[in-house]
Symmetry: C2
């Protein structure tokens, strides 16, 4: 058996070669290949469901939790959703070749910045086998080669989906190595991917916090990800009371397990109706952990300790704090936030603009629920992840975040004096 480092080097070299070939492929070819891949996913339903059945069986033998089994499971309707998502990506506008800007220099040189694919992308993910199709489709649509490494519990399902995808590519004459799947379950392969500088251009982890943390800690290759979503909602003194209640309850309670869920509620001390706001949250089933001023407002609140301000609950719990003013809200977010999504609720647009300028988050919202933090809701048509890093791409990332640019200089024989 090949050692994992050698395996990843070989796959990286094949990916780079495929990437070079892809640069000669048209938008239409990439799109058609994905539609063909979706067809192969549907045609291969029996094989895919059977492979998934084997994964489910081993997972039950290993006593995986119901939540994990549910993430792993594929049935006919889920497979149809996977195929439809691939077709959806095929229809998204191709960012490659877009001219970002153009200017002519006095010497007649024409300078253009043109969008090009990033290169070779590594995706490291856990149990959901739909990521195999989804990530492969997004990376291919944007002209990249991809190396996929899914969870060992989903290996059979991933392999079956992967084979349908590459059959689609082959049918349209695209390089099959544009999509590769790491077929060993040896965890050392992940380590090798994380260190494959020069072969893999960026790693995108998809999964729980422990996976993301390991990737961020060990990677020598740049990582696009978010570790925490400690999202704040600040209720300004001039907030509309109905909006404040609707937004806070939705931001916390619509789905508590998503990264855009509110984890900390900051209430301006001059906001006139904090009581009804807390009541609405508690009535909706939320535990409110407050500072002293909050605790005085409702006997059902419980005391917050220092850790609460740094905690991503992903549960019906919120930390709540009274702040003097917007300035203190921004300072609290700077100290405790995770640069994901932070919200101000106010009818004062000057204060809103100042908050928007000062809050150093990938997404800053005014009068909206932080649960909108999602590529689909942003109109990106899809999402490969949300980035809380500052470089390259920030917030929800879809096709454009999987591209870079090159400078194209068009001359007529100019030489530099």
């Amino acid at each position: 058996m090949t050692n994992p480092a050698q395996l990843i080097t070989d796959m990286g070299n094949k990916a780079r070669a495929a990437f070079l070939t892809l640069s000669g492929v048209t938008d239409a070819q990439k799109s058609t290949a994905l539609i063909s891949a979706a067809r192969h996913l549907r045609a291969g339903a029996a094989t895919i469901l059977e492979a998934n059945g084997r994964d489910m069986e081993s997972a039950r033998d290993r006593d995986l939790s119901d939540a994990m089994l549910d993430r792993l499971m594929i049935d006919e309707s889920r497979l149809e959703a996977i195929a439809a998502a691939v077709e959806n990506v095929a229809e998204l506008p191709d960012p490659v070749g877009q001219i970002i800007d153009r200017s002519e220099r006095p010497n007649g040189l024409m300078m253009e910045r043109v969008r090009v694919p990033l290169g070779v992308i590594g995706i490291i993910y856990e149990s959901r086998p739909n990521v195999t199709a989804d990530a492969a489709a997004l990376t291919l649509r944007s002209g990249n080669a991809v190396i996929l490494r899914g969870g060992s519990e989903a290996i059979e399902s991933n392999r079956a989906i992967f084979e349908a995808m590459t059959a689609g590519l082959a049918e349209e004459g695209l390089p099959e190595n544009a999509i590769q799947l790491v077929q060993t379950t040896d965890r050392a392969a992940v380590g090798a991917m994380l260190k494959a500088s020069g072969l893999i251009d960026i790693i995108i982890p998809r999964g729980g916090k422990s996976l993301v943390k390991r990737v961020q800690d060990e990677a020598r290759v740049p990582v696009l990800a978010h570790l925490d979503g400690i999202c704040h909602t600040y209720i300004g003194k001039d907030a509309d009371q109905d909006k404040a209640i609707a937004i806070a309850v939705n931001a916390k309670m619509r789905r508590t397990g998503v990264c855009g869920a509110m984890e900390t509620l900051l209430i301006d001390q001059d906001y006139p109706a904090p009581g009804p706001l807390l009541r609405a949250l508690i009535d909706a089933g939320c535990e409110v952990r407050g500072d002293d001023m909050i605790m005085e407002l409702d006997p059902r609140t419980v005391p917050a300790d220092a850790d609460d301000w740094n905690t991503e609950y992903l549960a019906p719990i919120v930390a709540a704090k009274m702040v003097r003013d917007m300035e203190e809200a921004v300072a609290h977010i700077a100290e405790h936030g995770s640069h994901h999504t932070d919200v101000i609720v106010t009818e004062d647009s000057a204060i809103a603009d100042e908050f928007i300028r000062r809050a150093d988050s990938a997404i800053v919202m005014h009068n909206a629920s932080s649960q909108f933090a999602d590529g689909g809701e942003f109109g990106l048509g899809a999402e490969i992840g949300i980035s809380t890093g500052r470089l390259h791409a920030r917030g929800p990332v879809a096709l454009e975040g999987l591209t870079t640019y090159k400078w194209v200089v068009r001359g007529t024989g100019q030489v530099r004096p």
Copy 2:
């Protein structure tokens, strides 16, 4: 004495605080502060030249080379150029606050991507003290805080320039810690900067190859840089012969020590006049190291060995090779290039477009000299460096490359269904 790791942590924390304060500063304030800094540079001429005199004296005692002494030296006209460059940056358009794109969603949410500063930037450089002013001006203009770490041989000059710059900031009420200088010459401070994840957002090395290599190898913080500039010029079969000669000679010989200098010449085997092209280069004083087919064309050529295709000479030497066609030229560049600047000379615009699409370089040029690879020539008004990395910013980088974006979502109370 503080240990270097603690020193960098302290400076990083001060820089982050200054960065937060800077987010409340207007374009006009940043610009005025730089004009004020330029005034302080001129007013402090005696102090700066005296400090530089001390550096020059120690450098002579340590027998530094004439080239290094020249890089280190500041006289009145060089100081005037440094001050004028700071004023020039003050007049560049501020990228911060620019709206990159905007769209309205069906639910009425308005999505904007707005340019914001990157954060805290670390600059690690060698003997040229002008970088102290130059890099500080560019980072401040784009709203960032900066930690500067210059070469030990320039410490007195750097300190004097740094003090003039921060005096300018203080005069306009800007946070002085927006610009900080590492004042120890302990090299461990560089190591600490390279590992300061979470405190420093990006490191930009400015200097020779050994500095850049150390930074790239050791950094845990992202690095914006180029290591090599192995630039190719491919003479297509339909190249105009006069343009081919003018471009090749200029690309190689105008200045041989710059990163945009041509290092490899690829000649299409169907180009009808390779002899005069080689003759022009040799007559201009260039050594031509060729493959067998090149060697047959001129007795003054010498044989190239395998290393020549991977060498950045930075000298009047060029490696020259006959290629079958554009395809082979692109493959050669993919194998041996450094993703910096590559050029095609041809009158066939279809072939030019194909080359532009296929050559995976930060800068791809058609019918122009690779020596134009420079931020000033690109109309950026300045340059903090050239990046051969693929993420974030590519090619010549000025103010825009020192920014990122945030998503601003403007609502009227929307909650997610």
